[in-house]
Amino acid sequence: MNTAFSTRDLSVGYNRKVLIQGINIDLAPGKILTLIGPNGAGKSTILKTITRQLEPLSGSVYFGERSLRDISGKEFAKQTAVVLTERVHPEMMTCAEVVAMGRYPYTNLFGRLTEEDKAAVQSSLERVHALDLASQDFSTLSDGQRQRIMLARAICQEPEIIVLDEPTAYLDIRYKIELLSILRDMAREQKTTVIMTLHEIDLAMKVSDDLLLLDGERVCAYGTPDELITSNDIEELFAIHSGSYNLLFGSVELPKPEGMPKVFVVAGNGKGTPFFRALQKQGTPFAAGILFENDVDCQTAEMLSDHVIKAPAFEPITDNQISSAIKMINGCQYVLDAGAPSGPLNRANRELILYAQKTGIPVLTDLKGLP
């Protein structure tokens, strides 16, 4: 395989103390590798090691065919650029001047910019859609703009590999998405290889070609997002026991309310989800049904309740499912009609509401009636 970056049995750490060992990475050109793991898992330590700010404790790092040890500082700067977490405070410098810093390895003793250097600055600014900021003072920028400029600076260095340490920190969601799509474009169009750390697992799943999961002692998984989504690695890694994490959507829900269900929510078509969440906030345990497995309500209900009556997608509801739902309703104090539309397949849900009315269990259409 044609690799842009690889490591062989790499061990990293501080002061001769090994933090993580046995790191083996193979990354093809134009791919995005994201390191994820809880705080303190050693993501930054790995980044520092591959960008030569820390010595590898053992093993080796290769950029293309060449070992990191054989590359001089200047050569390294021509093929690898970094975007760091630390905030910089250059005084009285325009954005174009900050970006032009990226030309450092290419300019002469006095840092004189040639026409070629200026063209590189221009195209880097274009890449991050920040051409309009060129002559603005860097210190007047917002966090999102700053991060884009720092990325442009890295791009301006014309590297084969860009290493970014938590590039989305400090950014609001709009800029996070914008920044990651710029990286995706660069990887696709210019075959720039990207290695970064992210806190947002959901975004990491969507933007990366490869993921490296770290737990502070070892690499607990390395593979494509598709490979990792089917395993429990991620939930285990972040020790999400109290709340739940939906890998498919990358969404997070708070812990389930404890106890036997008090309210049965007749839901469907996404109508139930706001009620589930409202009940969770009140701390009221609930049951939900009858939900087709392809319904979004089914996904959220399962994250927020242990008592969900499900039916396979695209198949009629069976008598069996109806009777377990009725059993559940009998144990509840209220039935909540979430207002889901009913059609030929889920007519049973109508029947459940009628049953509740017949047996004298109060049927609510909002949460105001709840004590």
Binding site: V88, F110, Q122
Partner: protein, 370 residues
């Protein structure tokens, strides 16, 4: 048509401003030199000053090509009358010394500010001047009696040693505390300790040495001679050139140490060069003129405001020139304000320099980063 980046990167706007500032500073410097030579107990008219200077320079240059044929003519110009003697023996060396040392001190302060990435770092604030004084005190009081006599080179070396010692100490502390105000407090405390040690030495010194040390530590350009001017040029010129050659890495370093490293700056060697150049400059000044306060902080800041840029390649020469102008005028005031009594140079530099520091502190508070 020019692209937006083209205009932003095009330094011509900044270059024009830079040239303008440089020209204004040069004019100021020449004016300051003339004023300095002109004023005093004996007033020398400007026309005489130029005539004598041109003559002496002409003979001096001719001397270079004719193996000393014009030495007598040169001596004749120098010894023509009282005015010419005052000019060549007293006022000219003094004003040149003030200019060179003022520039050197400012560049030294600028380098320290880069090093600590802190706008109010300076040899005086960080206790470095006090350190120099301490070692000079020890040299004058304890070592000189043992050795016999001290040369100005020996004094300079002591001051250099003291400066370097305290710079390293402050450097050590600066790695523990990132906070700017803490570093300042530490600098001031280190300064007090050095002063205490100096006072301790003075207790056991004889009167003659105490007078020597006090004279030195008053900080003054009075008694300047050509030998000192020569030493100052020989030490400061190379250090300022080194600083200028470091412009490119300084620019990268101003962004951040880690970014500089990622762009291929050999950070350790760079920091060492920065520190050595800065210590050499401030030591040279301290050794010749004694501790001079606030020039190192105030001048680089004034220069940046004038230039409206922090590009080191433009800032460093301007800082030197601005420092020269600043000190020439401060010395003029020190010399003439209460003539015939001379004030110490720090009295004047503090009055003009300290407000700049206060302003800087307040401004940083406002922008909310420490």
């Amino acid at each position: 048509m020019k692209s937006p980046t083209g205009t932003a990167l095009d330094l011509s706007g900044k270059r024009i401003r830079f040239m303008f500032v440089i020209v204004v500073l040069l004019v100021q410097l020449i004016l300051g030199l003339v004023l300095n030579i002109n004023t005093g107990s004996v007033s020398i008219p400007a026309s005489d000053i130029f005539r004598m200077l041109l003559q002496s320079i002409r003979y001096k240059i001719s001397n270079l090509f004719t193996a000393g044929n014009f030495s007598e003519a040169l001596d004749a110009v120098i010894n023509a009358d009282t005015a010419s003697q005052i000019l060549f023996r007293i006022r000219l060396p003094r004003v040149l010394l003030a200019a060179i040392l003022g520039g050197a001190l400012s560049v030294s302060g600028y380098l320290l500010q880069v090093f600590f990435r802190n706008p109010i770092a300076g040899p005086f604030v960080l206790g470095i001047s006090s350190g120099a004084k301490m070692v000079v005190g020890v040299t004058i009081i304890f070592i000189t009696p043992a050795v016999g006599s001290f040369s100005s080179a020996g004094l300079m070396f002591s001051a250099f040693l003291g400066s370097l010692l305290i710079t390293l100490l402050v450097l050590l502390f600066s790695q523990k505390v990132q906070n700017m105000s803490m570093l300042l407090v530490i600098g001031i405390m280190v300064g007090y300790i050095c002063t205490a040690v100096t006072d301790f030495c003075i207790t056991f010194a004889n009167d003659h040495d105490v007078v020597n040390l006090t004279n030195w530590s008053m900080g003054s350009f009075s008694g300047a001679n050509w030998e000192q001017v020569q030493t100052a040029v020989l030490v400061c010129l190379p250090a300022v050139i080194v600083a200028f050659l470091l412009s490119k890495p300084i620019g990268a370093y101003l962004l951040s140490e880690r970014y500089a490293a990622s762009m291929g700056v050999p950070v350790k060697a760079f920091r060492l060069a920065l520190l050595l150049a800065s210590s050499l400059l401030s030591a040279c000044v301290t050794a010749i003129a004694g501790p001079v306060s606030f020039v190192g902080i105030a001048v680089p800041h004034i220069t940046r405001v004038l230039l409206k840029t922090s590009k080191p390649i433009l800032v460093i020469p301007a800082v030197f020139l601005c420092g020269a102008v600043f000190c020439v005028y401060c010395d003029l005031i020190a010399r003439t304000m209460f003539a015939p009594v001379e004030l110490k140079i720090s009295t004047i530099t503090s009055v003009f320099g300290a407000p700049v520091v206060i302003y800087l502190m307040i401004k940083r508070r406002k922008t909310g980063r420490e």
